[in-house]
């Protein structure tokens, strides 16, 4: 036990408290590749998918400048989606977008006719909330890598419970963003108000 109380252990504690660290709440607990597989399967069931982007599914992968976890998740998402032959039986395109502000994101969604916005880890509660407000009225699925995202402004998020992936959906935000899933699909998800 004295080993644990040695100077190095004290340094360990100090490092953990002082050094900037990815907060647990900001970590994606479901592997990003699995998130992309789930997203690609899920959007098939969105009744309004056909009204967005026509015969192409455009995914904007939102990364936060200077955030390592965000950059890594963005690269993984880009690669996973890029390796798919099709998404929802449609052509698809993915693009890494560096977050400037919510209004710019909303404009990008309109301009590029985005079907999906995937928000990587690293965004604050305020930023997620602003994203949610800016996407209101735009027909787009917003999905966050971090489990708490759906409670903070996005439509969907991914959680890991007992080793199994879990989808969370904020129904109110989904309605604002014209995302329509049947009860048959919603029963597979944790529904938030």
């Amino acid at each position: 036990m004295r080993f644990l109380m040695g100077p190095w252990a004290v340094g360990l504690v100090a490092a953990g408290l002082v050094l900037p660290a990815p907060l647990r709440g900001e970590e994606a607990t479901v592997p990003v590749a699995v998130q992309m597989d789930l997203l690609a399967k899920l959007i098939v069931y969105d009744r309004n998918l056909a009204n967005r982007g026509g015969d192409q599914v455009v995914t904007l992968i939102l990364v936060k400048s200077g955030h390592d976890e965000s950059a890594r998740a963005g690269a993984q998402a880009l690669r996973t989606l890029g390796q798919k032959d099709e998404i929802a039986l449609r052509r698809h395109a993915e693009e890494l977008v560096t977050f400037v502000d919510a209004a710019t994101l909303a404009q990008s969604c309109r301009t590029l006719r985005a079907s999906v916005v995937y928000v990587t880890p690293g965004f604050s509660d305020a930023e997620l909330s602003a994203i949610g407000r800016s996407l209101t009225g735009i027909s787009v699925i917003s999905a966050g890598a971090v489990a708490s995202s759906a409670r903070k402004g996005l439509v969907l998020s991914f959680d890991l419970v007992s080793g199994k992936p879990k989808l969370l959906i904020a129904l109110g935000q989904a309605e604002k963003q014209q995302v329509s899933l049947s009860a048959n699909v919603l029963r597979l998800m944790q529904v938030l108000p």
């Binding site: 490092a15 660290a21 699995v34 950059a71 880009l78 049947s182 048959n184």
Partner: protein, 724 residues
């Protein structure tokens, strides 16, 4: 031709099992993705179980509750693929893929709790029943990785790795209370808490649970076995300290089969720093293993105190670092009353009490860094080092019943050493459907120098929903301190130059997912060398030992730990799981067949005692929806297997075992929000296990069949849980 046919055949089979597409949208594919477990124990990175570099299964908290599982050994028997346990009354032995090395104290499987190894260095012991000492409500999942796992974890991970992972506070939020009781008499009570908070701008959480389990009984009948006279006194041998000796062993055992397990486990996290604490005690005894028959004063007691501190940080988009410091205290006590003079030291004519003390303390530091060279999981390198310092000590002795004199130190030892393991793992994913994983660990031990443990795995998903996997791995177990240092001048001489036990394994499997249904089939082979068993000394060897002062001249049967055994196992396994009716109906099954044989010096082979060649399980549950209970039924099977510790030729066989557990579970919102219940009943068809009992182990007058350990056949229990 076969490459084209195989996926078609598999998909045809799965399609036949899958329900016809509903008129509404078919969500089977989505359900299948949501039902696939994400595991991390096989490679230290989170990934779908089908893509892990080894056969991995994950047993969720929901499954544990749904199927009435109360202990780790029950989870392995009823829910897992490839592992099986055998009950010895109070403790359980574990085997995998046909190999079960009886009396190994569980030291061929590495058991982890949130990344912290539970196997202690004195004897390598890990427990698989109540003695694992983990509050059950805190368990989020149990990951089981079959086959050699030393490439990342070092010693003991030969049969596999069992990783118990506890819940995060978000999944254990609030205050929880649990009360359970069962017949034969047992009870468990616990209180737990889970809470998230913010401190100094950092996210934090705490989870903790305290629980106590006690059981007494059941009452089981043993013998009678007519042993005869005490070789020292010439009188009928005493098997009890009460009353005169009768020379007869056995009777109704109702007082000594007892377990007591208090446990406290907690974790605190603040930012990137996490601290874990575990305090546990496992007090247990059986009517027949040591000492007097059904002696309530006898006991074995294991105690643990573990501390674990870890810190993780992402250094860049490509690189992460994790540091872990840990320390453990472990003590073992055994106290066995022996009323017979022939079981005691010379002069202890009124009997004695044998007392054994063992203990270990160890502390270590582990550092792991991961480099994702292209930041997109295409090329990932994992490098780590784990060094620890250990102190082990032991002593035993005999306390004379006629007077309080304690004669100890027939052997005692105390040793300090250090070990170091360095590991490297390289993952390459050049395409979305292909992954290559190669790695090795080098373990340095003062006892045997350096030992490498390599692994190579190939995983491919060449068609939709299909995965092919081939894995080669090696593992080892370092000799335990008990094997290295134990000796006494009566019956055991010190071991000399023990080498680590080794195993090489190769496995191949194919998995197919069709919607929410999943089928897996595989084959495996493992080759074991230098297994440490005890061997009897020849007369010449005994003479040499006497000349060295290691034996008294009157010693008769004398043993020594040696690297003497080889085992080979070849087999196949299959598993099926899925869900139907909008996931209200869930089912699963697994089956393993293995031909495991010990290779004897004369070129012949022998079955492994207590190891079943066929074993498996099946389960089904139906969620009727609130307010009705979830109905669940689980069944396990183990084929007939030879008994351990008998000199009968051929060795007696325990009958095949079929055990069933029915469970009802649900909530009681009308009584109180947060109140839930669980009722279970367990029935076993076989009433005998594969362990010889009693002093008679060979044929004799009036004793023509080896008595095997009796097993309780029926158990029923009920529990209430309150979540505030």
């Amino acid at each position: 031709m076969m490459r084209a046919l195989l996926p078609l055949l598999l998909m045809a089979g799965m399609t036949a099992l899958a329900p016809p597409p509903a008129r509404a949208e078919d969500t089977g594919d989505l359900e299948g993705l949501l039902d696939e477990a994400i595991v991390s124990s096989a490679s230290l990175t989170a990934e779908p179980a089908s893509l892990a570099p080894g056969t991995s299964v994950s047993l969720s908290a929901d499954e544990l509750r749904r199927y009435g599982i109360n202990t780790l050994d029950e989870a392995l028997n009823y829910l897992a693929l490839g592992m099986v346990t055998e009950a010895q009354l109070g403790t359980a032995e574990v085997g995998s893929r046909g190999v079960l090395l009886s009396r190994d104290y569980g030291n061929h499987v590495l058991v982890l709790l949130d990344g912290h190894a539970l196997n202690e260095p004195w004897n390598g012991t890990a427990y698989y029943e109540r003695g694992v000492g983990v509050p059950f409500e805190m368990i989020d999942r149990i990951e089981v990785v079959l086959g050699p796992g030393s490439v990342l974890y070092g010693s003991n991970a030969m049969l596999g790795v069992i990783h118990v992972i506890t819940k995060a506070a978000k999944d254990h939020a609030g205050v929880h209370g649990v009360v359970e009781g069962s017949w034969p008499l047992a009870g468990r009570a616990g209180v737990g808490v889970g809470h998230t908070f913010q401190l100094a701008g950092l996210d934090g959480e705490v989870t903790a649970q305290l629980e106590v389990f006690r059981s007494q009984g059941p009452s089981l009948t043993f013998g009678p076995q007519y042993y005869g006279t005490d070789s020292v006194t010439g009188e009928p041998k005493q098997f009890s300290s009460e009353g005169p000796g009768t020379g007869i062993w056995g009777g109704e055992a109702s007082r000594s089969l007892q377990l007591q397990v208090p446990v406290l486990y907690g974790r605190v996290r603040l930012g990137a720093f996490e601290l874990g604490l575990r305090m546990a005690e496992f007090r247990h005894w059986t009517p027949y293993l040591y000492g007097n028959f059904d002696d309530p004063s006898g006991y074995e007691r294991d105690r643990w105190l573990s501390l674990d501190a870890r810190w993780s940080h992402r250094l860049s988009a490509a690189t992460s670092l994790a540091l872990r410091a840990y320390g453990d205290l472990y003590t073992y006590e055994e106290r066995a009353g022996q009323a017979a003079a022939e079981d005691c030291l010379e002069g202890q004519l009124k009997g004695c009490t044998y007392e054994l003390f063992g203990g270990s303390r160890w502390a270590g530091l582990e550092a792991t860094t991961s480099v994702d060279w292209f930041k997109d999981d295409r090329l990932v390198t994992l490098v780590g080092a784990d060094g620890r310092v250990r102190h082990v000590a032991s002593d035993d002795g005999y306390r004379d019943s006629a007077q309080p004199e304690y004669v100890g130190g027939t052997h005692e030892y105390s040793h300090i050493d250090g070990i170091l393991g360095i590991y490297l793992s390289q993952i390459v994913r050049p395409f979305s459907w292909l992954a290559l994983n190669a790695g090795a660990r080098l373990d340095f031990d003062a006892g045997f120098g350096a030992h490498p443990s390599p692994r190579a795995a190939f995983t491919a998903g060449p068609w939709d929903g299909g995965v092919l996997k081939v894995v080669y791995a090696e593992a080892f177990r370092a000799p335990s301190a008990y094997e290295l240092y134990y000796s006494d001048t009566l019956s055991q001489v010190p071991a000399q130059s023990l080498r680590p036990e080794t195993v090489r394994s190769i496995e191949a499997s194919v998995e197919q997912r069709v919607g929410a249904q999943r089928l897996m089939a595989g084959a495996f082979g493992s080759w074991w060398k230098d297994l440490i068993f005890t061997e009897y000394l020849t007369e010449d060897e005994k003479a040499e030992a006497s000349s060295r002062g290691e034996l008294v001249s009157s010693s008769s049967a004398v043993i020594q730990y040696r690297n003497v055994a080889q085992v080979r196992s070849l087999g196949v396994n299959a598993a099926l799981e899925g869900s139907l009716l909008a996931r209200r109906l869930r089912y699963g099954a697994s089956l393993t067949w293995a031909r495991a044989r010990q290779l004897l010096p004369d070129g012949t082979e022998a079955e492994l005692p207590a190891a079943a060649s066929w074993f498996g399980n099946a389960r089904i549950s139906y969620d009727q929806g609130e307010p009705w209970p979830v109905l669940a039924l689980a069944v396990r099977y183990a084929s007939s297997r030879p008994a351990m510790d008998s000199s009968f030729d051929p060795p007696p066989r325990a009958p095949a075992q079929v055990q069933m557990r029915a469970t009802l579970s649900g909530s009681l919102p009308r009584l109180s929000a947060g109140l839930s219940y669980r009722i279970w009943a367990d029935y076993a068809l076989a009433d005998r296990g594969p362990y010889a009992v009693g002093p008679l182990r060979e044929p004799g007058p009036g004793y023509s069949a080896q008595e095997l350990v009796p097993l309780p056949r029926f158990q029923v229990g009920m529990g209430l849980r309150y979540d505030l």
